[in-house]
């Protein structure tokens, strides 16, 4: 299982904070975006259009990264900490 986490405004787009996806031993962000599109087409599109950043196990990754079973994927809108 892959855990997908959503933050900030993305939570209201998908209507949840996280979800579990079973996409086999290895998968890609494209396949994850397609699975997410089944319940949230807008979110799937944001991933494919590179409008969100992605981390895997808390490290930023490019959109062609390989995702493995057990990984924690987070979808991150642009950061706005500080002041």
């Amino acid at each position: 299982m892959i855990t997908v986490k959503y933050f900030a405004n993305l939570k209201s787009i998908v209507g949840r904070e996280e979800e579990k996806l079973d996409l086999g031993a290895e998968t890609t962000l494209l396949k994850i975006s397609e699975a997410i599109s089944q319940h949230s087409p807008n979110m799937g599109e944001l991933i494919r259009e590179k409008k969100v950043m992605v981390s895997v196990n808390m490290e930023m990754v490019p959109l062609d990264a390989v995702i493995r079973d057990g990984d924690e994927v987070a979808l991150l809108p642009p950061f706005s900490g500080g002041v």
């Binding site: 981390s55 987070a74 991150l76 642009p78 900490g81 500080g82 002041v83």
Partner: protein, 146 residues
């Protein structure tokens, strides 16, 4: 290489912090400290022409702390400061309240100014923290600012 950090040096917390206490903690790190520079970020009432009544910060637990620690290590390595502490608050924050504090300490002032300036810019760019502002027209997640 990442070395173990005393817990007080990198923190994300709901409660307020005391700037003087944080400076005193930093001064105890080394007797070679001859200069301490701080950056304090506070909640302001106007943003992009809108009056703000309240701020709210959210973070990605563990990853945000990890990124702050990476910033601290890089400041020590690249700017030659003796040490740095970084504290960021989350949750609801009123106008005028403390949001973020960076304390940089070194033998001389030059590297502390540079390290502080760099650290706040990098924090905004690389640490997964998000700000939501409450204005007269509702709540809005903030886009990054330079």
């Amino acid at each position: 290489m990442t070395t173990a950090t005393a817990e007080w040096k990198v923190r994300i917390q709901k409660e307020d912090f005391n700037v003087n206490d944080e400076i005193e903690l930093m001064k105890k790190v080394s007797r070679n400290i001859g200069g301490v520079t701080t950056f304090l970020g506070t909640g302001r009432a106007i943003s992009k022409g809108e009056t703000i009544s309240k701020l709210n910060f959210e973070h990605y637990p563990e990853m945000a702390e990890k990124k702050l620690e990476e910033l601290r290590q890089k400041a020590i390595k690249d700017f030659g400061v003796i040490d740095m502490s970084i504290i960021h608050r989350i949750g609801e924050i009123d106008i005028g309240e403390n949001i973020v504090l960076i304390v940089a300490a070194s033998e001389h002032r030059g590297e502390t100014f540079k390290a502080c300036e760099w650290a706040i810019a990098e924090l905004k760019r690389t640490v997964p923290i998000w700000k939501r502002e409450t204005t007269g027209s509702g709540e809005v997640w903030v886009s990054p600012t330079p």
